[in-house]
């Protein structure tokens, strides 16, 4: 009856929701009281396969003696019981000194106090969790009944330890999963990389109860001024140590751990830090390092090997996310830059050419200059000026002359660069231009049809000038259609006339055609129907085409559209190959 009651109490405690240490202590106390053993100890098998005296009854006197050394499996009586999983019983005559383990040297002084000893493996069907040790001062040998009872209790303790191991493991797993899922959320947000990295270190530090978490990024991120992101306190000598750890982690390409004893002189506190540095690797290249620091003894339930594993897992996890973020940031930047460049190019092309713009400015500046210079001259001539005043007037006149001459030089320079004649593939030239236009959003409503003759021979011309001509024509068509319509571009080899072989490039639109009353003026310089036009586009295009011996024809169908036909001569002597 007593035995059943005892077992019932033990099972009740073991099933309660007290903390593991309290449950173990309570169970061991009950064994001690009810079965009259002065010492009840449990040596627990650790992850590194050593036996540590982890639990003892309240009044145990041996606990402080035997918990200083961790036995190996097979070492001494405790190690042998663990290895063979068979209980061993001794009385004071046959107990090996120091339980067969030389490191329990303090036992020598107290062994004579005890009469009988039982060492029982704590295990279930498959695993060993430790060894239960009970010692009595008074009993002469362990009774058979007690042996059976202790075996049952050891099994119950085994179950308890097993459940606890599972619980801790699942807690660890859950905590890992939560951390990783939090990180996943952060890494897939659409925020700036800086913000993402700040959130990442915050989450890691919070999830792992770390005193600090730091990510040092070694990767070019546009617009990012700082490369280290820290949550928590990281300064002074600790910062230097962290940098050392980072270097090592990158060199070894694996997670490293380091214990750092910090004598803080100000606070007279000695702090021990465990640091874990893990390289953030993508394609076997470190793009940064994650370092996590803990104070020892810490609040987290992770062991050293757990931390190595978790740090590595986390860095693997953030490496992917980070790589995507960095790449997408870079991509965004590049796209932005590309868009800006494209806009700029189109803007410039809309001005048709720098020369045109300059000509326009020159025209605007030149009139007032002519007026200033002209009237100053007249002033000097009409009024009877003193010598000094005359000198002033002359200075104005000569400075105006200088400005005029600068203006002319600039115009000559930008407007008429000597054409660079070369064999030019007109089809390729047109493709280039179309690519430029069609990648502009405002061209969405424009359908472009190409009919490029593959037998087009190369044409001797200045490719930049020819591009300017085509751009002019295509932009005119575009502007005539108010964002909606069709542009047809055709090239054709007209080899009919053997003496004058030529090619034709036609550009048609559906912009409703040109008012017949103005059509003969469209090549005049400064003639324009556009609000912001310079009136130079077609005039200059016409000049460029004429300069290489070509001509431009217009087919105008009012209400429908215009076709510009550009005829260019084929240089017979030079041209053999087809495009």
């Amino acid at each position: 009856m007593k035995t059943i009651q005892l077992l019932g109490e033990i099972i009740e405690i073991s099933n309660s929701n007290l903390e593991i240490n309290s449950r173990m202590q309570a169970i061991l106390n009950i064994i001690s009281h009810r079965m009259e053993f002065e010492e009840v100890l449990v040596f627990k098998l650790d992850k590194d396969k050593r036996l540590t005296c982890s639990y003892a009854n309240e009044k145990s006197r041996l606990y402080p003696i035997v918990n200083k050394y961790r036995c190996h499996i097979g070492e001494g009586v405790i190690g042998t019981v663990a290895q063979k999983r068979v209980p061993q019983y001794f009385n004071h005559n046959d107990i090996p000194p120091r339980f067969g383990c030389i490191f329990f040297n303090e036992l020598d002084d107290v062994m004579y106090n005890y009469r009988s000893f039982a060492f029982i493996p704590v295990s279930d069907d498959s695993f060993l969790y430790g060894v239960l040790v009970v010692i009595s001062r008074s009993m002469e040998g362990i009774k058979d009944n007690d042996k059976i009872l202790l075996a049952i209790i050891a099994r119950e303790i085994g179950g308890l330890l097993k459940t606890n191991d599972l619980l801790i493991n699942s807690k660890k797993r859950i905590s890992e999963l939560v951390t990783l899922s939090e990180l996943g959320k952060i890494l897939t947000t659409n925020l700036e990389p800086q913000t993402i990295l700040k959130n990442t270190v915050f989450t890691i530090a919070k999830a792992l109860n770390a005193v600090f978490a730091s990510i040092n990024i070694d990767w070019p991120i546009p617009k990012m001024e700082c490369h280290r992101f820290v949550y928590g306190n990281l300064n002074g000598s600790l910062a230097e140590i962290v940098e050392d750890c980072e270097k090592q982690a990158i060199q070894q390409k694996k997670t490293i751990t380091y214990e750092y004893y910090n004598d803080n002189n100000d606070l007279q506190v000695k702090k021990i830090y465990s640091l874990y540095s893990s390289p953030i690797l993508t394609k076997n290249k470190a793009i940064g390092v994650l370092t996590i620091g803990f104070l020892k003894p810490g609040k987290n339930f992770y062991q050293n090997e757990d931390m190595l594993y978790i740090t590595t897992t986390i860095t693997n996890y953030i490496a992917n996310g980070l790589e995507n973020i960095l790449l997408s940031t870079k991509l965004k930047e590049v796209i932005k830059e590309l868009n800006e460049t494209q806009k700029r190019v189109i803007e410039q092309e809309k001005f048709k050419s720098l020369g045109e713009m300059m000509a326009n400015i020159a025209h605007e500046i030149k009139n007032p200059l002519v007026v200033i210079g002209g009237f100053t001259k007249r002033l000097a001539k009409k009024v009877n000026l003193s010598q000094t005043e005359n000198r002033y007037a002359n200075i104005i006149v000569s400075e105006v002359a200088r400005l005029e001459s600068i203006l002319n030089d600039v115009l000559n320079y930008v407007k008429e660069p000597p054409p660079i004649l070369d064999e030019c593939n007109i089809n390729a030239c047109i493709e280039d231009i179309l690519y430029l236009f069609t990648s502009d959003g405002s061209w969405e409503g424009i359908k472009i049809t190409k009919d490029l003759d593959p037998s087009l021979p190369l044409i001797l011309c200045d490719v930049q000038q020819m591009k300017q001509v085509f751009i002019n024509m295509i932009l005119n068509s575009f502007e005539a259609m108010n964002g909606k319509g069709e542009i047809t571009i055709q090239t054709k080899n007209i080899a009919d006339d053997e003496n004058h072989p030529q090619i034709m490039i036609s550009i048609s639109d559906t912009g409703g055609g040109i008012d017949p009353t103005i059509i003969e003026n469209i090549f005049n310089p400064f003639f324009t129907t556009k609000e912001k036009g310079t009136g130079l586009g077609l005039a200059i295009s016409n000049k460029i085409v004429k300069n290489i011996g070509g001509r431009i024809e217009i087919e105008n169908i009012v209400g429908k559209g215009v076709t510009f036909k550009i005829y260019l001569p084929v240089n017979k002597n030079k041209n053999n190959g087809e495009v």
Binding site: N367, L369, V370, V371, G374, L411, N521, P525, F526, F527
Partner: protein, 121 residues
């Protein structure tokens, strides 16, 4: 050379005044127009020995104005005058008699006027 009548067409008032005074000093009678339409009207109703015509003028442009003037009087001497030198070499294809780049120094303009007036008696 004296009493020759010249029409100056330019949209800038100060340029018109400058050229008028400069040419009057040379002894010419000077009339003014500020755009193509006005110039065409004046050529229709008056007889000028010479027209000095700016290319970039509002309304109808200089080349159109030139064509209209030549329609009224094929032999009407016209000098194209522009701040812009780019089209200097094209002036003959536009049936003008000369092309002068505008300058504070009116020497070239005066010389060209004198030359054309001499050629045309």
């Amino acid at each position: 050379m004296k009493n020759k009548k010249i029409l100056i067409v330019d949209d800038e008032e100060n340029i018109r005044i400058l050229f008028k005074e400069e040419l009057e000093d040379e002894g010419y009678a000077v009339d003014l127009a500020s755009n193509g339409f006005e110039a065409i009207e004046k050529v229709k109703n008056n007889s000028y020995d010479l027209v000095v015509l700016d290319i970039k003028i509002p309304g109808i442009d200089g080349i159109q104005t030139l064509n209209e003037i030549k329609k009224i009087n094929t032999n009407q001497p016209v000098i194209l005058c522009s701040a812009y030198g780019e089209f200097r070499q094209d002036f003959s294809s536009w049936a003008s008699d000369a092309y002068v780049v505008k300058s504070a120094d009116t020497k070239e303009l005066k010389q060209t006027i004198a030359k054309i007036l001499t050629q045309n008696g």
